[in-house]
């Protein structure tokens, strides 16, 4: 069996973003394996440990994305494939680029993050499923293999449901699916020697970014001392009523 995790490298949410020439400049930011994709890597490792086979990590993005692929390899993935592209690409273009690479592996299933922490897209898993001609289960919180099928629990707009799906299929992650493991030191050492195959991006982005800005919503920052809770509460309610006019 082959389990594929599709990953990207994104800025750590805690790191400060800069704008340079109308675009986000990541040069000063800490870059990490997208935490939603981390769930995907962990899930493929668990499936492999339980059912045997191979865990493959497919990364999309600029040269530096190899760091995130190595992180996944250090967690325990067997080998990596890196589809290299320096610019921004929308999920349809990414799916187009990844579908061929993934089809060649003929995986049992594919897992990817529910939402990207940089472009805030939720569509990659679905677009990829369409490209592969298989069903998609989005916002997955539980996944079990049962022979030729998988049983999965996933979130809907309201509530959740259990579904059964014939494999192969694409799953997107949601918190609660698992607790990703940390790479161990031996894992990190081993990852250095694991194969990462480089593939050039074939395709054309359908969406172009014209401009990126960070809004400067300055907050009022009127912080009251609560040593006298009753007085502070009274003053807060007055401010909300008279100044902000929201009560």
């Amino acid at each position: 069996m082959k389990f594929v995790a599709v990953i990207r490298q994104v800025p750590d949410g805690e790191s400060r973003l800069k704008i340079q020439g109308n675009r986000v400049d990541l040069s000063g930011a800490t870059l990490i394996l997208d935490q939603m994709d981390e769930y995907a890597v962990e899930e493929t490792l668990r499936l492999k440990e339980k059912h045997g086979g191979e865990a493959i990590v497919v990364g999309f993005g600029p040269e530096r994305t190899e760091e995130a692929i190595r992180t996944a390899l250090a967690m325990g993935a067997d080998r990596g494939i890196h589809v290299v592209y320096e610019g921004f690409a929308d999920p349809v273009a990414v799916a187009e680029a990844l579908a061929g690479v993934i089809q060649e592996e003929a995986p049992t299933l594919v897992v990817t993050g529910g939402q990207q922490a940089d472009w805030d897209s939720q569509a990659l898993g679905a677009a990829l499923a369409e490209a592969l001609g298989v069903p998609v289960v989005s916002w997955t919180t539980a996944l079990e293999l049962e022979g030729e099928t998988a049983k999965a629990k996933h979130d809907l707009d309201e509530g959740a449901e259990w579904v059964r799906v014939r494999l192969p299929a694409v799953f997107t992650t949601q918190q609660g699916l698992n607790e990703p493991r940390y790479p161990t030191l031996p894992g990190i050492m081993k990852a250095k020697k694991k194969e990462v195959k480089k593939v050039a991006f074939q395709g054309a982005p359908k969406v172009e970014i014209l401009e990126e800005t960070i809004q400067e919503k300055t907050r009022l920052q009127k912080i009251l001392d609560g040593k006298d809770p009753v007085a502070a509460a009274e003053e807060l309610v007055r401010l909300l009523h008279e100044e902000a006019k929201v009560l």
């Binding site: 973003l17 679905a126 998609v136 629990k153 799906v165 949601q174 912080i223 807060l236 309610v237």
Partner: protein, 314 residues
């Protein structure tokens, strides 16, 4: 043609559908085109209501929702009318099935947009990125698939004349089998539509202490929110979680009680008009994002707030 996907709860159109209609009409006008609607139902759908808003409405009843069936329905309608643009309210489900549709149409996918216009024959839209921290202006040539972020757009008015229904042939597609729906009970004001949200974090200390959060929310006519820490602890249901992996809210007033202000939480509420924080730690990051705040213990401050609001209301 501009195809608008009308989302509903079986009985009524959702508010987001009326926002999507407004956007669809504006795009159609700029493109010198017309709006047609598609209304997909599990069992029943408010076709009568929908006919007040579009001249032509394609309908199909498809049984339990799956991304594949809904994608097939929208695709069938899009192909039938030769859609240059597909416009839909943004939700997790729509952002899933429209990912399939966008791929099938080789369309530019513009997700969760705040605004959209036509410039030089292409669609230009704004949207948030980087966990809601950055505003992106993006452009895509036709065809496009565009989703509309809730509470960004005025609601459409009905048309003077009623439209006509056309039944849509939807081919059957390989999809998942729905085994069991786990409905969540709905109570009080819906979190994403509420004008006031009162969120409790781990600082509330226990599930029981959320009584205070509920009381304050009820008093203000608002909804209860929760952080992931609280959901993971089992104090509150996931449906109340605000943040990156929960719901995104943008109320007039967001009150965060015992919430530290982690980036993943901020991603779900940083666009609120006013943010209020109560936290015992004056260094808590949430205060940097707050308009008003009280440094203090929630167990003392929240009961005092409840009393102060009651006095205001009297």
């Amino acid at each position: 043609m501009v195809l608008v996907v009308l989302d509903h709860d079986g009985n009524k159109l959702r508010k987001g559908s009326l926002e999507a209609l407004t956007r669809a009409r504006a795009l159609a006008e700029a493109l010198g085109s017309k709006v047609v609607g598609v209304l997909l139902a599990e069992e029943k759908a408010p076709a009568e209501e929908a006919l007040a808003y579009v001249e032509t409405l394609y309908t199909a009843t498809l049984g339990p929702y799956t991304a594949e069936k809904w994608a097939a329905g929208v695709l069938a309608a899009a192909r039938q009318v030769g859609a240059q643009a597909v416009v839909a309210p943004s939700s997790r489900q729509s952002r899933t099935y429209l990912g399939r549709v966008a791929y099938a149409l080789k369309a530019g996918l513009l997700e969760d947009t705040l605004e959209s216009t036509v410039e030089g024959g292409a669609v230009v839209a704004t949207r948030y990125a980087y966990l809601n921290r950055v505003t992106q202006k993006v452009r895509a040539a036709l065809p496009v698939v565009l989703t509309v972020k809730p509470n960004t757009t005025p609601l459409a008015e009905p048309l003077p004349t009623r439209g006509e229904v056309k039944t849509l042939e939807v081919p059957s597609v390989p999809t998942v089998e729905v085994l069991e729906r786990l409905q969540e009970e709905k109570k009080g004001v819906s979190l994403t539509e509420a004008d006031i949200v009162v969120t409790g974090g781990r600082g509330m200390g226990s599930a029981e202490a959320f009584r205070l959060v509920e009381e304050l929310a009820a008093l203000l006519g608002g909804a209860v929110g929760a952080t992931r820490a609280v959901v993971d602890a089992g104090w509150r249901p996931y449906s109340e979680q605000v943040g990156q992996t929960g719901k995104t809210v943008q109320p007039s007033l967001y009150i965060a009680l015992g919430v530290s202000g982690a980036v993943q939480h901020l991603a779900g509420m940083n666009k609120s008009k006013y943010i209020v924080a109560v936290n015992k730690d004056p260094e808590a990051p949430i205060f940097k994002h707050a308009d008003y705040g009280i440094v203090g213990d929630v167990h003392q401050v929240v009961p005092a707030l409840i009393e102060a609001v009651k006095r205001l209301k009297d």
